[in-house]
Subunit: 475 residues, 2 copies
Amino acid sequence: MLRMGPLAAAGRLLPAGPRLGPPRPSGGRVSLSRSRPPGPVGDRGLLARQVRAAAGSAGGGRSPALKTPKGTRDHPPAHVALRDRLLAAVVTCFKRHGAAAIDTPVLELRETLTGKYGEDTKLIYELQDQGGELLALRYDLTVPFARYLAMNKITNMKRYHVAKVYRRDNPATTRGRYREFYQCDFDIAGQFDPMIPDAECLKIVHEILSDLQLGDFIIKVNDRRILNGVFAVCGIPESKFITMCSTVDKLDKMPWEEVRSEMVGEKGLSPEAADHIGEYVQLHGGLDLVEQLLQDPKLSQNKLAKEGLGDMKLLFEYLTLFGITGKISFDLSLARGLDYYTGVIFEAVLLQPENDHVEEPVSVGSVAGGGRYDGLVGMFDPKGRKVPCVGVSIGIERIFSILEQRVKAEILYKKDPKLLKQLQYCEDTGIPLAAIIGEQELTDGVVKLRDVATREEVDIPREKLVDEIRRRLEP
Amino acid sequence: MLRMGPLAAAGRLLPAGPRLGPPRPSGGRVSLSRSRPPGPVGDRGLLARQVRAAAGSAGGGRSPALKTPKGTRDHPPAHVALRDRLLAAVVTCFKRHGAAAIDTPVLELRETLTGKYGEDTKLIYELQDQGGELLALRYDLTVPFARYLAMNKITNMKRYHVAKVYRRDNPATTRGRYREFYQCDFDIAGQFDPMIPDAECLKIVHEILSDLQLGDFIIKVNDRRILNGVFAVCGIPESKFITMCSTVDKLDKMPWEEVRSEMVGEKGLSPEAADHIGEYVQLHGGLDLVEQLLQDPKLSQNKLAKEGLGDMKLLFEYLTLFGITGKISFDLSLARGLDYYTGVIFEAVLLQPENDHVEEPVSVGSVAGGGRYDGLVGMFDPKGRKVPCVGVSIGIERIFSILEQRVKAEILYKKDPKLLKQLQYCEDTGIPLAAIIGEQELTDGVVKLRDVATREEVDIPREKLVDEIRRRLEP
């Protein structure tokens, strides 16, 4: 059991007020004060006593741990309001494309989730056996959707589902990666003309990311059949295709050299086979690359790769009609971790923060992803009847963490905000810096910057304020 | 692990269409067909083969169990749409009363939930120890709210929270009792003039139940201090107060004789003490009863009871100003199961279905409940600082199951609905009866009623149709 130390305690203290950012132990928040105290700051003894008392009791270990589970967080009212606006924008787009909402339980039978997530199966939260069925928390919304289709013998459906999923992943909360998080899924189940539903999923990602004005983005696309074809022509046995996908998928986080050494070291490939794979998976481009690979003497002989490349060409035709090829990159390094994909796969990443006011660029990774999974429903159907499906999941939490970063300073919403109260609030909630702008500072063209912990105050010329704050907040 | 038999399989198959009711093995649904086939019903051989095949494979036990966990259910689109409308109505009322939304994780530390729910603690879902913290699923939204207040040092807040909670209870799905269900909570934290927040909670229940037009209802109110006073004057030691509350709370489900024998048999009370308690807890009335008990020679000598009765009198004054005393019953049998209540408690029950079209009255139990819990936040605060709270929870699932019962027949939404398809759909989804109204039936003033399982068809005069369907659906 983790117990909360004094520092963590300060970091966890979220006010109910208008602050939007999550608590950050090495925080980047600045409190802006608009009033100037008449003289020196009031009863410092009181403040000090309170800080000592809070630290002492939090570290004392007698009270129960006052926290949410690791990787989860509470959402205060302003947070919920922003999130609801975001979700509404996403749902509006899903509805515009004709999808209907379903809901499924947070709990699923363990056997429903077994064998669907490859190496990530270890990240599933399992419930204790308290008698009765063995249960787990849902890991995504795709497997429950496939179970729902099979259970209700539905062969044709356009549905969306907005709900929380659970992963015992290593949380990286500043990058918006939590153990409990919302997914916004749109899926099309059923037999349609080739690549039209796939193109619609990409159109939806494009619409949502454009609507939300998150800055420039790119949607990488690939096809599992092309990847498998690459593995085949490089002499990899079929039994290793799925684990090779996991390795290739790391190319967005580590350089080729490291991925190569994992292939040779951990996965047992010959250096030649790895290099051969490397020639392919480092390629990316547009329709031209598709055409080029269709002429590739080896790849064009592989049935799977040829099918995948043919469909990719068709997909690009639809995307051209939709006018969105400018944001699409055919990227052979995209592999996606999950077992169940069978055809087109895709992932949207933000290229850079939209505006210059954001001081520290947030690395948020992918903000949407999905693909075709034609075999998943058949795994649930008693007779193995397949229902072709393609879908996309919008990573609303990561988008949220970007929007959070844009609201980094707060002021106290009070009619008559006493400076002492504001500083006390800064100490209570772990805000590191307070910027004080009173009449004198206005006259002098400076801002008084106060280090909340040491209580040192320095006048900073206004034009140097941003640099000074940035310097002080550096880790 | 429960495996699904053929009958259960038929009962679980939910269509994605406009049907609103949950699957009921002894179902009360009727399919209405508006088209008449030209001759005898088509390929019965095909139907029979399909039914056999489905039954065989479901009972075969080779495929994984195709179901949701016990006591949970999927929600098809029509279901979600109705639920969202209901939730929106409730949230509108909460907002009208000035509450702001928060959200908390579904997961809580186990120790956060420990010691808050009395005998019901055994119903908490615990997660397996997979390394790290010991976790559980939230059991209600009240304890997480108290944890939130203490963690963020909030002493004043009006919040609402709409989210799912989890209880390993015995599910009674036809009565709307599930293991995963929505709660809609409204709570007021902070120090206010006595009984004003309490009165507002009752006003909210009154507004919501009136708005939703669920028929006649009554809101029972009591006070834990009055109950404890009753126990005290009947000679019960204080250590037994909480367990006595659990026993008294059963008076809405079992007669006094049974409750009395539990008191004497299981809880070890003397017959005289039990009878003495019985004299009190069978009382109910209005302000007159409050006045009467304030004159009670024994009860008026008890400090707690006197406080509770004084506040109850004040509460009735506010409720009179609100004009809602007509629906309020001061009921000494109301005890509420949970440990954490310290003052006023209340519970709303529906008295009867609203209209005559509902054939089988639904017993839904309470549709809202709540009370004052002044000690709960202090259990989380490291220094035990108390924040007085009062709140109410709207049982939206139970309300939902009433609204579901009002939509019991469905028609296939197809431009050209072939009868064979409709009957196949009835077989697939476990609908027991099909009513066929073609031109001949219209001329004859009859309805052809088809038993889906046996395929027998009988012409029924229209005026006898309701009675005939009711007779056939009797358990």
